[in-house]
Symmetry: C2
Subunit: 323 residues, 2 copies
């Protein structure tokens, strides 16, 4: 059977394609190349260039490639941009998914793995976030991900879809330098960018109610994220109609921003640099760390790579991209 991976030419998508093809699954990539890149698509994997808003192309692709399930990763994912351009985010992420679900229903494709995000939780006030922690998203980006989950759960009930929504925590690292993240929106590449500019990396606030005063997050290697998609896809093959899973993908371990910056400085040979502490950024929750119990119970999956794997591979990717 064949899987369609939307956004398969992007950072996370390319890792999912890699994990699935290495495990023997047949994959087709669907990507509008707005942020994806063709050189991330392995040779032998068909690439359909198109938008998730193109209902006809989606349905034709599902039929012509005899697709049995979709891994829907294509989305806009910058929290700050989503505040500036909410209607664009709603169009791409909400109407895009709705269009995909319509095409799947029309073509009789009933399996869906969906990229959700810890952003659905907003500012959670718990030590470990479980899938039952109330969802109060704090940005249009987080809203669009929660809306996607709702839409999928409703389609599972109404149309017998089998679905898994995977709530990513803080994704980092790369399988190879070529597949690394080209964006500079997450902590690790932001530190690299400052170092490259000869500037001290910034820590946004050290007066949070956390052990060292800086924000605590759950970092997870993109190859672990990818293997979770493979596990979810295989689980859906066995699942009864109407199955709708919601699963955190995290390591279940918190790391503070200060701890991460110190590790990055060490790994990249910048032990002499002292980070600069500036004001808090609005909307940053103090602590967001996953409970990874449910995904272990449901899929038998857990993360295998650690912080050093993430930082080292991200640094190799950065040097590959930036000379």
């Amino acid at each position: 059977m064949n899987w369609l991976v939307t956004g398969g030419a992007g950072y996370i998508g390319a890792h999912v394609v890699r994990a699935m093809t290495e495990a023997g699954e047949r994959v087709v990539v669907y990507d509008d190349l707005s942020t994806g890149a063709t050189d991330r698509v392995p040779s032998g994997v068909p690439l359909v260039v198109g938008s998730v808003l193109d209902r006809q192309l989606l349905e034709r692709t599902l039929r012509e490639h005899d697709i049995a399930g979709v891994v829907h990763i294509a989305a806009k994912k910058q929290v700050g941009e989503s505040v500036e351009r909410p209607l664009y985010y709603y169009r791409e992420n909400v109407t895009g998914l709705q269009t995909l679900l319509e095409a799947m229903t029309a073509a009789g494709v009933d399996r869906l793995v969906f990229s959700s995000s810890a952003a659905v939780y907003g500012m959670p006030d718990v030590d470990l976030v479980t899938e039952d922690t109330p969802c109060v998203p704090m940005s249009p980006y987080g809203e669009t991900k929660l809306i996607g989950e709702w839409m999928i759960a409703a389609a599972a009930r109404a149309h017998g879809l089998k679905a898994a929504a995977l709530r990513y925590f803080n994704v980092a690292g790369a399988a190879t330098p070529e597949l690394s993240d080209s964006g500079v929106f997450n902590l690790i590449p932001m530190v690299f960018e400052r170092l490259e500019a000869g500037a001290a990396p910034r820590i946004f606030g050290d007066d949070y109610d956390t052990p060292d005063g800086t924000c605590v997050r759950d970092y997870i290697h993109v190859e672990d994220i990818a293997s979770a998609h493979l596990a979810a896809a295989r689980r859906l093959a066995e699942a009864p109609a109407g199955t709708s899973l919601t699963l955190n993908i995290g390591r279940g371990e918190g790391s503070s921003v200060r701890e991460m910056v110190d590790r990055i400085l060490k790994t990249t040979g910048h032990e002499d640099v002292t980070p600069e502490v500036t004001a808090r950024r609005p909307g940053d929750p103090a602590r967001v760390v996953a409970s990874a119990d449910r995904i272990r119970a449901e899929l038998g999956w857990s993360a295998r790579r650690d912080l050093d794997d993430m930082i080292r591979s991200a640094w190799q990717g950065w040097r590959h991209r930036h000379g």
Copy 2:
């Protein structure tokens, strides 16, 4: 200045058009006539027949009629149907609003009054529901209304839109028999339909944790709903850019289903009929009654019509439609 009323040929929309034109506002109706009817549109009020998914027609209508604000009432509104056809509801209610917001932004129209619903609250566990009661919608219909509020609030922040989301409680009654509700999805017309068929009206469950064991709701006359739209529209004319109001529209008084059925039987001369108590319907909350404090404070509005006004005018409408 001119207002565009989407869904203005429907039950609630036609009452809003009536209230606004009687108050001297100039109104244009935009309706796809899927459930609306041209005979509800008063002579002299322009009618544009079109879908809220038609981006070009929306923008052209906003420009050609020199529209300054939109009252967006067009939507699919049957809870049960939304469970059966969630993607249809997401398309019409979510993508529809998103398309409208894009057209408004492009045409420079910055005022919006939006039909929301008490369905955003789901199963509230409070005596009086305030606008700060957590929103946990229990149906795709309720989800689409909460999503609409989120989208509008985000557009207000990003683009300076001025908006009011009005959360309707249980709408009933009519200004004239011709404007009455043609659907049979709410308690009052459901009782009429049973009586017409010579059957006993049904009460779905009398074992709720309420004084008489039947569900308690906040019924409000559609003419009161309409006057709240007028008050909101006028308030937005004075409001600063970025204003985003969320307001309950209810009477702040609970009525039990049994009390309502008894009143209906009396008003329609069926005192001899005994209602039939059947099983609960899944998803019915025990009690949903508005706090109407915020709308009184913000708009100086409160409801003026009582249960007898609602039942009498609904009955006149029913006899008008059903001979």
